[in-house]
Amino acid sequence: MTTADLILQQLINGVSLGAMYALLALGFTLVYGILELINFSHFNIFMVGSFVALMTLDAFGLKGQTVVLTGLPLAGVLLVAFLVTMVATGVLGVGIERFLLRRVRHVKGPAAMITTIGVSYILLNVVLLTTGADAKNFPNPLPAVHYDIGGAVLRLREILIWIIAFVLMGGLSYFVNRTRLGKAMRATAQDPDAARMMGIEVDRVIMTAFFVGSALAGAGGLIFGLYYNFTSASVGFVAGLRAFTAAVLGGIGNVPGAMVGGLIIGLIEASGGQLIATAWTDVVIFSILVLVLVFRPSGLFGRMAPNKS
């Protein structure tokens, strides 16, 4: 491999990782933007999403890497899997909001955040106690198509992950910026009381944010499974933490910021592994985060939501 190939390959690696972090970061950002709440349950909604996806693909008879689909069947299976996963995690997110978080939403202090930590423990352990801690082999129906660009390899799954992430993020941007509900969401983020007085159903907006954010996390879980061909009960924490870092880095509450933040963290991880050592990746990521926040306390792109405290 030449240096150029190497850089290209690590770019491909980093962008793919970043796309996944970005999807997760969007969920954090949506909820944070509106509620100023660090939603720790998001970590494990992502994990649950990957398990729902695993079961869905399993139901299609896809086990391990033995069945490869192409064309319409592949598109159909993926579409169904995405729908099922996103609806399931979306409903899970809404349930958490409706039955638990809504009751602590107006409490000053970390009560809501602690609740999400509790929910996170519950989700993790329900999965852990029912399926065990082992890594599960995730089906991969994608054909092993790849393109050689010099010494670098670009696989179909990478192209797919970029397209899906791009489409979902584009859809989200459209939703937030152009639709009625999206505008209501932004208004609520700015000032929930004023929004309420303007006739916006704040409860509905918040539920929508949870649904959309959790559904994106579910999609992230499916993409994660397709990309890495495994899942386990413990995948939520590291991915979630880095995604959250990405959201803060980009400027929390800021949708494009979360995407760029995700990409930056992905690229740091790839280049850190190449240039320094993966052992120090987290140190590098968090050091950069601290530096960014010290010099730009509202993230690289500024926060969209005002600080309500």
């Binding site: 793919s16 801690a133 052992a279």
Partner: protein, 414 residues
């Protein structure tokens, strides 16, 4: 209330000890004496499943002993101790130390199987030594605990109490380095570990010997077992043009590493220790990604021994899951304790901790991994390292290690 209850159990314990003495002298036909074996594992958190597998290995041996009345007049019971805590989210040496004290306090417990993790072992060993309670670890391989250099800390009371049915990292790694240099003709290698005590120790020992054998170490890095993506480091290995990659660690990171290295560096020789031997790898990674990996076992390979195959079948039927490497070592550990008690009863000696320890020390037991004997520090006398390579055998169950791992040979000793 708690105080009262414990008082009573202490009384009962005294009575039991007295009964044991009587039993030893007269061999009376009284009700079976209960002998407790502690199972000290990380049942909570990240290692829960492998803990369960290991514990079930020991439980199976105990159940079998009870069913076959292996020791006349003795009923074995197991007591589970969990060193995983919600505080640590995984194994927790702090809780290990507490458990060791609890074990010492329960006079019915004569020996223990565990712990899994060397970190826990280091916290437990001094306490067990003071309490003169022997433990046999099926999984912790850090050499420090049985190293005479640290005897003052880990066995302050003098005698060895920390036995192992696994070889320490001090042999497995270096022998495999010899094998890769001599047999596989590896010239350059990249070494990885999984941040855990076992993985780091194994990779360190491997790397040191590999350097001596003239293999060029292209780099050394550490995987975060909770992270998902190892493509950055694998791409780096690819760009360095390594002949081989050695991974010290267990399945948690191993599964992901195997999957991704199949995609990124399919033609590089890949090897690991006994942490890469087991059905969790076969099912978690799946074929074809897992094909070709080398793994080692710290025991001599018994060619075409149907014993292991039958045992695997029995285990799988009983617990509805496949065994892994530490199920075997844990089963063996329980066998050794049962054997020690058996010899005591046969010799008419009381079943005390002290006597059980002495008998474990002098064990010569035929187990799944062959005949086991301990040296004076508690390590296996037998230091044969067997090398296996994964080659798919479609005629056999794909999650059965004994048919999917092909025996390659013995790794040359240092």
């Amino acid at each position: 209330m708690t105080v009262k209850l414990t008082r009573r159990s202490a009384l009962m314990a005294t009575a039991a000890t007295a009964a044991a003495a009587t039993l030893g002298v007269s061999g009376a036909e009284a009700a079976d004496k209960v002998v407790k074996i502690a199972l000290e594992m990380s049942f909570t958190g990240a290692d829960a499943t492998s803990a369960l597998r290991a514990a079930q290995g020991a439980m199976m041996a105990i159940d079998e002993a009870n069913e076959s009345k292996a020791v006349k007049g003795v009923k074995f019971e197991y007591v589970k101790f969990d060193d995983g805590t919600a505080t640590a989210g995984q194994y927790d040496p702090v809780q290990g130390a507490t458990n060791a004290r609890k074990m010492v306090s329960d006079r019915d417990i004569v020996a223990s199987v565990g712990p899994q993790m060397s970190g826990v072992g280091k916290a437990m060993a001094p306490i067990l030594s003071q309490g003169n309670l022997a433990t046999i670890t099926p999984a912790s391989t850090n050499p420090d605990i049985t190293d005479p250099k640290f005897a003052a800390q880990y066995r302050p009371a003098g005698k060895a109490i920390y036995f192992r049915t696994v070889a320490t990292d001090a042999f497995q790694g270096p022998n495999m380095a010899n094998f890769m240099a001599d047999k596989l003709k590896v010239k350059s290698i990249f070494v990885l570990d999984d941040s855990g005590a076992y993985g780091v120790g194994l990779a360190d020992a491997f790397q040191a010997q590999a350097e001596k054998k003239g293999i060029k170490i292209l780099g050394r890095d550490r995987l975060d077992p909770k992270a998902a993506d190892y493509s950055a480091i694998l791409t780096k290995i690819k760009s360095l043009g390594a002949d081989a990659m050695y991974y010290g660690g267990v399945g948690q990171a191993g599964v992901k590493l195997a999957k991704q290295s199949y995609e990124i560096i399919p033609n590089v020789i890949k090897a690991g220790g006994d942490g890469m031997f087991g059905s969790d790898l076969l099912t978690g990674v799946g074929f074809p990604a897992v094909e070709g990996w080398y793994a080692t076992q710290a025991s001599p390979h018994v060619v075409d021994d149907p014993k292991l195959g039958n045992w695997t079948k029995k285990y799988t039927e009983k617990y509805k899951m496949g065994p892994d490497d530490y199920t075997v070592t844990s089963y063996d550990a329980a066998l050794i304790i049962i054997d020690a008690v058996k010899r005591l009863v046969a010799a008419g000696k009381p079943v005390t901790r002290d006597n059980v320890r002495d008998n474990i020390q002098s064990s010569k037991v035929s187990t799944l991994q062959g005949e086991v004997e301990f040296d004076e520090h508690g390590d296996l006398k037998n230091k044969v390292i067997s090398v296996f390579q994964i080659k798919q055998d479609k005629t056999k169950p794909l999650d059965d290690p004994s048919s999917q791992y092909k025996y390659v040979g013995v790794a040359p000793t240092v």
